[in-house]
């Protein structure tokens, strides 16, 4: 079928792990629309950067697509009403990151057709790069792969950066998730249009879409719809976690190494997730801002795993109900994939823009709680995709020697979880590293 990873175009990176893929639950399930819930909750912080500022008051009626919170500064993103209804309150609410954060709560209007207010849809080809970026910014588009970095910031590199490639990330290397997979299979034209718009914005002539070879139907669909007038290639990549991490993807596809502490744009690359590309296309096709996303609700803890189009702000409770409810052995709810996702403690936590999946793990697949002493097997060194020494870092972390960890390039750790996955002693290495990073960030404040 011609979907082997390329030999010289690399298609591979060194180290990493092979967790079970577990994607068969939803890989062939067509995307369907979930019913509107009775209430949506829109946290003001759904992106990396400064939280948005609410501009509606309780009691106000908002229509689907109306702005409820404005971007506060450049590295910020507006939030739009994902359903027509009445603003009930602006209050603290459980946030997917585990905290309580300010959110706009909207009681969804019953029997509403949920049509969007008619909007002027600009012809994207007539807009300048600056106008395109502004349109993307106003639509509240953020990276949909998980980190939710505002897209307009990524599309505005410093003047001296020489970008030559837009790289679309279609790896979806996390187990269980099929959001990007189904997007590529069902909306390949949107992915291509989004890529074309971003190439136009950045003035770049080369676009590459990297897809792991376990999604042959996605590769086929993207190749069948590939535009012929611009230089776009679909690059099959080895199935390995974390193939979809920016630095790994750039190494696999282009053979370039992002310097420590630097961004992809330092090696001339802008990376965007396929779902983000498709959303950009949708913004210019429909004029509707980012008010809904595709999400995989899966795992052995839900009765009918599915790929759903859902309004942003839908609660886990409603999402799982739309998938037949929990099974008897459901144990842990994870937002994102099981390798990097965050476990949830509250069924009222809403889905946010960056939530690519909701995985409900069953009792017998969650990781054991028991840890053993490190036996220095070195498996974590062979797993770490950035070539850190998690063994030594872990020992330092347990002793609280964070400064020494910093000298060993802790900052290059992206918390991908490979070391923790492979550790036979079940030492929570990524958790220790996250703790060390936080302690180092707060250090000046502690000293002052």
């Amino acid at each position: 079928m011609g979907v082997r990873p390329g030999r010289n175009g690399h298609g591979r990176f060194r180290h990493g792990v092979h967790p079970p893929e577990l994607k068969e639950l939803t890989a062939k399930t067509p995307i369907r629309r979930a019913p509107f819930p009775d209430e949506v909750v829109l946290p003001l912080r759904q992106h990396t950067g400064k939280p948005a500022r609410a501009i509606v008051a309780p009691g106000a009626r908002v229509e689907r697509g109306d702005t409820v919170a404005e971007a506060d500064g450049f590295v910020s993103s507006p939030v739009h009403a994902s359903a027509t209804g009445i603003v009930e309150a602006i209050e603290l609410w459980p946030h997917p990151d585990g905290s309580w954060a300010p959110a706009v709560r909207i009681a969804v209007e019953r029997y509403s057709v949920q049509a969007a207010r008619p909007r002027l849809v600009p012809e994207w080809e007539s807009l300048s790069p600056a106008e395109l970026i502004e349109a993307i910014r106003q639509a509240g588009v953020v990276g949909l792969g998980g980190a939710a970095f505002p897209t307009h910031v990524k599309l505005s590199p410093p003047k001296d950066a020489r970008i030559d490639t837009v790289l679309i990330n279609g790896c979806e290397c996390e187990p269980y998730l099929t959001t990007d997979h189904r997007t590529m299979v069902e909306y390949p034209e949107r992915v291509h249009l989004g890529l074309r718009i971003m190439m136009r914005v950045l003035g770049v002539t080369r676009g590459v879409i990297g897809v792991e070879t376990n999604k042959p139907d996605a590769i086929e669909a993207l190749r069948a719809t590939k535009p012929t007038d611009i230089d776009v290639t679909v690059q099959p990549l080895e199935v390995k976690y974390p193939q979809g991490a920016e630095k790994m993807l750039i190494a696999s596809v282009l053979g370039r190494e992002v310097p420590s502490g630097k961004l992809p744009l330092h090696v001339g690359v802008v990376v965007q997730n396929v779902a983000s590309a498709a959303t950009i296309a949708e913004v210019f096709e429909t004029g509707l801002p980012l008010v809904e996303r595709i999400v995989t609700v899966t795992g052995r803890g839900v009765r009918q795993p599915a790929n759903l189009i859902v309004p942003v702000g839908t609660k886990v409770r409603d999402l799982v109900a739309a998938c037949g409810g929990f099974t008897d052995d459901a144990r842990e709810i994870v937002f994102g994939g099981p390798m990097m996702g965050v476990a949830q403690a509250n069924l009222d936590t809403p889905l946010v823009k960056g939530t690519s999946g909701i995985v409900v793990l069953s009792e017998d697949e969650v990781r054991g709680q028991r840890s053993y002493p490190c036996i220095r097997c070195g498996h974590c060194l062979d797993a770490c995709p950035v070539f850190l020494n998690p063994q030594h870092l872990g020992q330092l972390a347990l002793k609280g020697r964070y400064e020494e960890m910093e000298a060993m390039h802790l900052a290059d750790c992206m918390l991908c979880g490979c070391c923790g996955y492979t550790c036979p002693s079940n030492i929570p290495l990524p958790q220790l590293f996250a703790l060390a990073k936080t302690a180092l960030r707060q250090r000046p404040a502690v000293k002052a």
């Binding site: 390798m339 949830q344 062979d382 020494n389 079940n426």
Partner: protein, 333 residues
């Protein structure tokens, strides 16, 4: 129905391997080797191995943390120590060796994962230093299976009656002191004099190879040891075939197989980096050849590994991987 939610840090999935599983797999892989030793040396072999294991396990149980026996590491130490002992050794000496290996080789350092030296080899070094005569009395094969091959049942602190049993020199001793050759075939199969588990070279190679396939030992260590010993021995043999034995004799005689596959590859006391493992193996190989040929001792595997164990922290620091996106390799403190 609302489930009772578990909230843990990512990653939420783990690989199937666990520390107890690794340890018990190693124990399982030792079973054929123990069976071979029992076949060659009779009931004495079982008794000696059991005594060494009992010494290790009892010490871990008494002085270690609650429940540590379940991780299987004390059992490995005892079994491996037993395999390095001669069949005729009084059982109480084997027991003391196991107790010393766990007590002074592992528990004083803080238990599993903290020790610097291989506990089994430390136990053997102690027994060899304390009871040199008993440790170099190698019973010859033959006799009925039930017949004890030495003074196994001697009371503690009595002198063994070694003279009453038929004994012979190990192949390395024959080579060193009598310049007598042993057929390679009997070395590979194991029908020679020697310690219990040191004799069946081929079987040890197979069992260790299985562990390497499971990634429970770093294959670079034995490969590096074999390559270094083989190349050095072959080069010396070329210089003076009468004086220096050939490479295959060096590889299959003495404790080299057991040492290379099971002792040097102990996860805790070998380097964590792959480059470090290559260097570690090469160091052991050089030391083995040097001690065997020019040293005063007949066998050098034990001291070669213990010496290199001491260098592991340095090997780790010198062979840190280059972090992606950085230029220079920086050393760990």
């Amino acid at each position: 129905m609302t489930p009772r939610l578990l909230v843990t840090a990512s990653p939420h999935l783990g690989s199937a391997d666990s520390t107890p599983r690794i340890m018990w797999t190693v124990v399982g892989s030792l079973v054929p080797i123990i069976a071979a030793a029992t076949w060659f040396f009779g009931v004495s072999a079982l008794l000696v191995i059991a005594a060494a294991t009992a010494g290790a396990v009892v010490t871990e149980r008494v002085f270690g943390r609650h429940g540590v026996l379940a991780d299987g590491s004390a059992a490995i130490t005892g079994l491996l120590l037993g395999l390095t002992l001669p069949a005729g050794l009084p059982l109480w000496m084997a027991f003391v060796g196991g107790a010393f290996g766990i007590g002074c080789g592992k528990l004083v350092f803080g238990g599993l994962g903290q020790n610097v030296f291989n506990p089994a080899l430390l136990g053997r070094a102690f027994v060899q230093a304390a009871f040199p005569a008993a440790m170099t009395t190698w019973p010859v094969h033959g006799g009925s299976w039930w017949q004890l091959k030495g003074d196994n049942l001697a009371w503690p602190l009595t002198s063994p009656r070694a003279a009453e049993f038929v004994t012979g020199a190990s192949p390395l001793g024959k080579m060193k002191f009598e310049h007598a050759d042993t057929s390679l075939w009997s070395l590979v199969i194991g029908s020679t004099e020697g310690s219990l588990g040191e004799t069946a070279g081929l079987l040890i190679l197979l069992c260790g190879g299985y562990l390497a396939l499971r990634n429970y030992l770093n294959w670079r260590i034995p490969v590096s040891i074999f390559a270094t010993v083989g190349v050095l021995a072959a080069a010396l043999h070329q210089l003076d075939p009468a004086r220096y034995p050939g490479a295959l004799f060096m590889l299959f005689s003495g404790g080299l197989m057991l040492g290379a596959m099971y002792m040097a590859t102990d996860l805790v006391t070998s380097p964590v980096t792959n480059l470090g493992c290559w260097a570690f193996g090469a160091g052991i190989g050089v030391l083995v050849v040097v001690i065997r040929i020019w040293g005063g001792l007949v066998e050098g595997v034990m001291y070669a590994i213990l010496l290199m164990n001491a260098l592991v922290p340095y090997l780790n620091a010198w062979t840190q991987p280059r972090v992606m996106g950085t230029r220079a390799v920086e050393r760990a403190s």
